[in-house]
């Protein structure tokens, strides 16, 4: 099977009333499996939109995204749910953890949706927490965690259903430089050790150049 993510003529136009705001225009890229991509560009250039489209959270206005040979643009809402469950894991700038749940519960949530038995998912959740270095934070709720710790929990959650691709939307945007480095290193480690494809949106060109195999530059919704 074709393991590449093939993006062809991808266009996304947001409508606000009668005004059309183009977020992405005719973007065509190919993502090789197991590599680390950095997506850079100014804010509003369409980076997050690209990630949301690959993550199946949104549907393109036109164009196609081939993932494992299937076009996300053609998928039903149900199929997109399957895509989000098993194919990709998402990480956000603002962590997006459920504030009322503990670190472990947050990690377990995706496994509840995929129907993994309770005992199994708890065991797996603990292993994941250990892997991101938070074995002692199992029962802490997000407000009791530092920014770096919260993002590690989010990374562990993204990996819960063993996806092939991690989509990280400015994962270091809210973190200080030292913590940022730790998070980026964690992503690099996942890329190297587990062979995960990583797409990381970032403002930080220096980091992007240091860690990524390839940089995708976006400007006004177009690849440059």
């Amino acid at each position: 099977m074709d393991k590449k993510i093939r993006i062809k003529d991808l266009t996304k136009i947001y409508r606000k009333g009668t005004i059309e705001i183009p977020a992405l225009q005719n973007v065509s890229i190919e993502i090789e499996p197991g590599r680390f991509y950095a997506i850079v560009g100014k804010s509003g250039c369409g980076k997050s939109t690209l990630l949301n489209l690959i993550g199946g959270l949104d549907k393109p206005t036109s164009g196609s995204i081939y993932f494992n040979g299937a076009d996300l643009a053609e998928m039903s809402r149900k199929d997109l749910v399957i895509h989000r469950r098993y194919n990709v894991g998402m990480i956000f700038q603002s962590f997006n953890l459920i504030l009322s749940q503990t670190a472990l519960e947050n990690i377990i949530l995706p496994m509840i949706f995929t129907g993994i038995p309770k005992r199994e998912r708890i065991a797996k959740g603990k292993i994941l927490l250990e892997q991101v270095g938070l074995a002692d934070r199992i029962t802490h709720i997000p407000n009791e965690l530092s920014g770096g710790e919260a993002q590690r929990v989010a990374i562990a959650r993204a990996m819960a259903n063993e996806p092939e691709v991690i989509l990280a939307d400015e994962p270091t945007g809210n973190l200080d430089s030292q913590t940022s480095e730790e998070i980026v290193n964690l992503l690099v480690k996942l890329n190297k050790d587990k062979g995960l494809t990583i797409l990381m949106v970032t403002h930080d060109l220096e980091t992007a150049e240091n860690v990524s195999d390839k940089i995708i530059r976006l400007k006004d919704g177009m690849v440059i």
Binding site: L57, R77, K78, V81, N96, L97, L109, F113
Partner: protein
């Protein structure tokens, strides 16, 4: 995602906003409480009524009267019964008809139902009442099978009689009943009356004085005017022994027998009487010997009513039974129950609006959370289910506690009615009734209404756009 996960999630979500959840559930509790107590009142009324009917054998007994106009046919435009009536005289209720009724399969007992007035005297107390000839066989049936004291006479030629509690009361003999908490009124105390034990009446002599028309008319009708000693009526006094006392009837129990004193059937034949139910008797004209105005017929089982009734009607006489009215009564009760239910349902609908409000608030607050769930692989159905479980939880808890509240309210209402509105010595009675279908139905209905109220919020939650939700503050 299984039920246990969803239940846990739903409950956790409610627990997070305890105050709001509690208030919402309180709304449901009040709604279900109102509904349950209303319906329980309707059901209780029906039950008290039906029980009283059953106890008073109204479903198993009927009255046979001479052939009459069939009002039912008449109201449907069928005039045949009128022409029948014009063409032939109604079949009189004779002993031979009675015999034929007794031979019908399923008939437990049949006897002429008649009463005649008389004066009764026990010791020095005296009053007037109705005397009713009554077969000893009726001792098997309620209320004659559970007398306050003494025993029913064993055969129809016995010299024993049964008296009613009320008759003794009228005579100033206030008989104690351990079940009823009998007390003296002020008037009783002023008159120096006392409560006496029931056993003190048993074995006492009761004299019955009846009047009859003096048939020894002077040959010359003017003689009536001239003979000062002529009495148109003559009186006869006979003595009997009281063998049993019938219990006091509570207000809700229907009692169809009018007699104050029940006299064995054969014994009663020897009592001279004026039967005012028959005008012919007074005029002593055209009266067929041995004809009665009505028969009391009792069947063994309720199911046999219709067949026995038809067979009796085939003898050319009319039959009336209260079970005819049963269908109509049931309809009336359905209307009453529906009205009471509707009032309760209004309360529940308001509670339902409260649920919708709470859940929409909850969705607005949790928009981001819903977005997260979608991003990590939650399907629309799963998210819908989580909210449905929350709604069902509100319904379940509200239903259970609402039922408790309804029960409590009915207990209090019952107590108030008992202590304030009814006679202090009135028998125990429950105005309300909670059958199992009401208990399960109330909880089920509560869940159903809650789910219906949760339908729109749940769909709205499932439709949340994850991209917008994740940007949501």
């Amino acid at each position: 995602m299984n039920l246990a996960d969803m239940t846990k999630m739903g409950f956790a979500n409610l627990w997070r906003t305890k105050l709001r959840s509690t208030l919402t559930i309180l709304g449901v509790i009040i709604g279900i409480g109102a509904l349950a107590s209303m319906v329980s009142f309707g059901t209780g009324m029906q039950k008290n009524f039906t029980d009283a009917f059953k106890r008073s054998d109204l479903f198993t007994s009927m009255n046979v009267t001479p052939g009459e106009i069939n009002f039912n046919e008449l109201s449907h435009g069928d005039l045949s019964s009128i022409s029948n009536l014009m063409n032939k005289t109604p079949e009189p209720l004779t002993d031979s008809i009675l015999e034929r009724i007794r031979e019908i399969k399923g008939v437990a007992i049949a006897f002429p139902e008649e009463t005649f007035p008389g004066r009764v005297k026990i010791q020095h107390e005296e009053t007037s009442t109705n005397i009713q000839p009554f077969p000893a066989h009726m001792a098997e049936y309620h209320p004659f099978n559970e007398l306050l004291a003494g025993s029913f006479y064993s055969d129809d030629s016995s010299k024993n009689v049964i008296v009613r509690w009320e008759l003794l009361h009228n005579m100033g003999l206030i008989v104690d009943d351990p079940d009823l908490n009998i007390r003296l009124t002020k008037e009783d105390s002023i008159n120096g009356r006392q409560i006496i034990p029931a056993d003190s009446i048993i074995g006492k002599t009761i004299s019955i004085t009846t009047a009859t028309i003096n048939r020894d008319l002077p040959k010359n009708p003017l003689g009536i005017l001239m003979n000062r000693d002529f009495q148109p009526f003559s009186e006869v006094e006979l003595e009997y022994t009281i063998s049993g006392i019938l219990k006091r009837r509570d207000e809700f129990a229907l009692f169809r027998f009018r007699g104050g004193v029940f006299v064995p059937l054969e014994t009663a034949r020897s009592i001279p009487r004026l039967n005012f139910s028959s005008v012919w008797d007074i005029l002593n004209k055209n009266r067929k010997e041995g004809a009665y105005s009505s028969f009391y017929v009792r069947v063994n089982k309720m199911e046999e009513m219709t067949r026995v009734r038809e067979e009796i009607e085939n003898l050319g006489v009319s039959v009336f039974s209260i079970s005819d009215q049963l269908a109509e009564m049931k309809r009336a009760f359905i209307i009453i129950d529906s009205l009471l239910g509707a009032i309760g349902t209004v309360a529940l609908i308001i509670a339902g609006l409260g649920i919708i409000n709470t859940m929409i608030m909850s969705i607005l607050e949790r928009t981001r959370e819903i977005g997260i769930m979608k991003a990590v692989g939650g399907s629309e159905n799963q998210i819908k289910t989580i909210f449905f479980v929350e709604a069902a939880f509100i319904g379940l808890i509200g239903g259970i506690f609402g039922l408790g509240l309804g029960w409590l309210v009915t207990r209090i209402a019952n107590l108030i009615v008992k202590t304030q509105l009814m006679d202090f010595d009135a028998p125990e009675m429950d105005l309300f009734y909670f059958p199992i279908w009401l208990i399960l139905g109330a909880i089920g209905f509560s869940i159903l209404v809650s789910l219906a109220a949760g339908l729109y919020p749940a769909i709205r939650a499932a439709r949340v756009d994850p991209v917008k939700a994740l940007r949501h503050d």
